[in-house]
């Protein structure tokens, strides 16, 4: 009886959503499907097949995938370690990873530029250790590095959340039935954190795929991701229609990820990163 009334509380948000989420997307779609004269066309979307765009989207997919993989490989053991600490407040851990964001994103990337540059701190350390000088700045490697840095928390948090939800009895039961550490990891912990992994992968892969500032700042303008192309169309080439068309193509990836998320995360719990 109260449920109906309660649902109306979502009313303001619904209006907001229609006005400022869905309507703008409709605008993008409109631009994507028209020429500058307002005539209908598919060419803006078909433009993704242009070799230049194909190249950049392939590069974006590649760097995004590498970044996601690195984040996953770094996060998983980290979350396992963190979950053995019984923090009184889970939110404390969460905010430890969110906290760096209070320092402006551009400044932090800038700091990485200082650290990674030819005679920066990282190279000095490498030199001291005897690894020798490694050119990192203005390479795809640096871009991946920056992406990993920026998106790592978005991988850690959902995995950590699903990890702490595993009941200790479940692990004890597995051990009791003869499972060693490796079996427990593969057969119990991994499947039970799968929904966290999926949302983590999506939360990292999608922004990595679409990012443009990081590649600009750490790639030295030599790494052209699909996000840079769109930015260029909007800001330099000023072909909004082409930019919109490419954006719509990007959104297909986003929608596909969301669908994936729905399949793997039935209760909607994994989406709740925080």
């Amino acid at each position: 009886m109260y449920k109906l009334k309660k649902q109306f509380l979502a009313g303001p948000y619904l209006i907001w959503m229609i006005g400022f989420i869905l309507l703008p997307l409709a605008f993008i779609l409109y631009y994507a499907l028209t020429t500058s004269d307002g005539a209908f066309t598919f060419s803006n979307i078909a433009a993704i097949a242009d070799p230049v765009h194909v190249k950049s989207i392939v590069l974006s997919l590649k760097l995004g995938a590498i970044c996601t993989l690195v984040c996953l490989v770094l996060s998983y053991p980290l979350c396992m370690i963190l979950s053995t600490f019984r923090f009184r407040h889970q939110s404390f851990v969460v905010f430890l990873f969110i906290l760096p964001m209070w320092m402006n994103f551009m400044l932090r990337i800038l700091a990485w530029r200082l650290l990674l540059s030819n005679n920066g701190i990282v190279n000095s350390i490498f030199a001291a250790v005897g690894v020798g000088h490694i050119k990192m700045l203005n390479t795809p490697t640096a871009v991946v590095f920056g992406m990993v840095y920026d998106f790592l928390p978005f991988m850690i948090l959902p995995i950590y959340n699903s990890m702490v939800r595993i009941k200790p009895e479940t692990l004890e039961a597995a051990r009791d039935l003869g499972a060693g550490n490796f079996t427990i990891l593969v057969k119990i912990i991994f499947p039970l954190t799968l929904s966290g992994i999926i949302s983590g992968v999506i939360m990292v892969f999608v922004p990595a795929l679409t990012s443009f500032v990081i590649s600009d700042l750490l790639g030295g303008g030599k790494v052209l991701l699909i996000g840079n192309v769109i930015e260029q169309e909007f800001m330099q080439g000023t072909n909004w229609h082409l930019g919109s068309g490419l954006s719509v193509v990007l959104m297909l990836f986003v929608i596909a990820s969301m669908a994936l998320m729905n399949v793997f995360d039935k209760d909607g719990g994994g989406t709740a990163v925080w």
Partner: protein
């Protein structure tokens, strides 16, 4: 966009669109104090960005400062109104040569007012690069400086060395000539350290690169930080750029805008701006007041012989603009 804009009808305001950090803050204050007009300053990074903002039309700018070819484009699109310089009391302070030079993009010289000008050249580190080598664009293709060359992260500037090396006009619209230039640039890309806009000066000052393609103003800023740096405009010829003010047709506060432009021409004000920005000022009063060393610094004030083989950008046709955009993407995705 909505062209009629009445929300900002407040008579005592002036909406100014300018490059970032291109106006001494105290100048704004002084203007506000003297006239009681409140300035809303909006800044941008590149002319193209400015074009986006401007044509989006959601903000009604009263006065805009931008680069030569962009003004030409806006004039051709009918967005620029003529300025009544006769009502100005300080317009005479401007160097007529520079006003003449701006006829390339503003044939009548009635729609724009020069603000700063300068050249495009090579900023190099004298400890790594011999001065004589830096007098040719060829050095940008020299494999010994692999990973020590910084190019501009903007299309037309980066195409200038390539076009001039092949002997083409920097305002060419010929597809083949552009293709040749692109081939050169693609050949160059592996030895390029980075395509930077903003970071060039700092990187050069830090000694992270041997040379960079920069504007003269930026070069001056970097040289202040690092004594080893020097600046040269290669003899193959380069770009002379003029940043000028114009008043859009849609301007809501024409009177205030003209008052502001006149104010900028005032000797003391132009001086303040010069000291803040450090680019060559077209204002004769400023030049006169400067000490000899500054006045003769070729980095700041390009000598006439250099100006001779420099060309101002012309606005390109829509096809060529899109061609440039595509070539740029091709270069970057290599």
């Amino acid at each position: 966009g909505s062209s009629s804009n009445t929300a900002d009808a407040d008579k005592d305001t002036l909406v100014v669109l300018n490059y970032g950090k291109y106006l001494e803050p105290s100048v704004i204050e002084q203007f506000e104090q003297e006239t009681g007009i409140h300035i809303k300053l909006e800044e941008y990074e590149s002319p193209e960005e400015m074009y986006t903002k401007f044509t989006a039309g959601s903000i009604c700018y009263d006065v805009v400062c931008t680069s030569d070819y962009m003004i030409e484009r806006l004039i051709s699109e009918g967005e620029v109104s003529t300025i009544d310089f006769s009502g100005f009391s300080n317009y005479g302070n401007l160097n007529p040569d520079i006003i003449d030079a701006s006829r390339v993009f503003d044939p009548e010289a009635c729609c724009s007012m020069p603000y700063f000008y300068g050249t495009l050249g090579i900023l190099y580190n004298t400890t790594m690069v011999p001065t004589e080598e830096a007098q040719s664009w060829n050095i940008l293709w020299d494999d010994t400086y692999r990973d020590s060359i910084i190019m501009q992260n903007s299309v037309r500037d980066t195409f200038v060395p390539a076009l001039r090396l092949s002997g083409y006009d920097i305002n060419t619209e010929d597809e083949d000539e552009l293709a040749d230039a692109l081939a050169l640039l693609i050949e160059q890309k592996p030895i390029v350290y980075a395509y930077y806009v903003d970071e060039t000066a700092d990187e050069m000052a830090a000694g992270n690169a041997a040379m960079a393609l920069v504007y003269s103003g930026e070069a001056a800023y970097a040289m202040e930080l690092n004594d080893d740096l020097s600046y040269a405009v290669p003899e193959e010829g380069s770009n002379l750029w003029i940043d000028s003010w114009f008043i859009p047709k849609r301007c809501a506060h024409r009177e205030n805008a003209e008052k502001f432009l006149d104010f900028l021409c005032r000797g003391d004000i132009a001086m303040a701006n010069f000291e803040y920005v450090c680019y060559a000022s077209p204002n004769q009063k400023v030049v006169d007041a400067l000490d000899e060393e500054t006045k003769n610094d070729p980095t700041i004030f390009p000598p006439d012989e250099i100006l001779e083989y420099c060309t101002v950008y012309k606005q390109l046709g829509i096809d060529t603009t899109e061609r440039y955009s595509y070539l740029w993407k091709t270069l970057k995705s290599e």
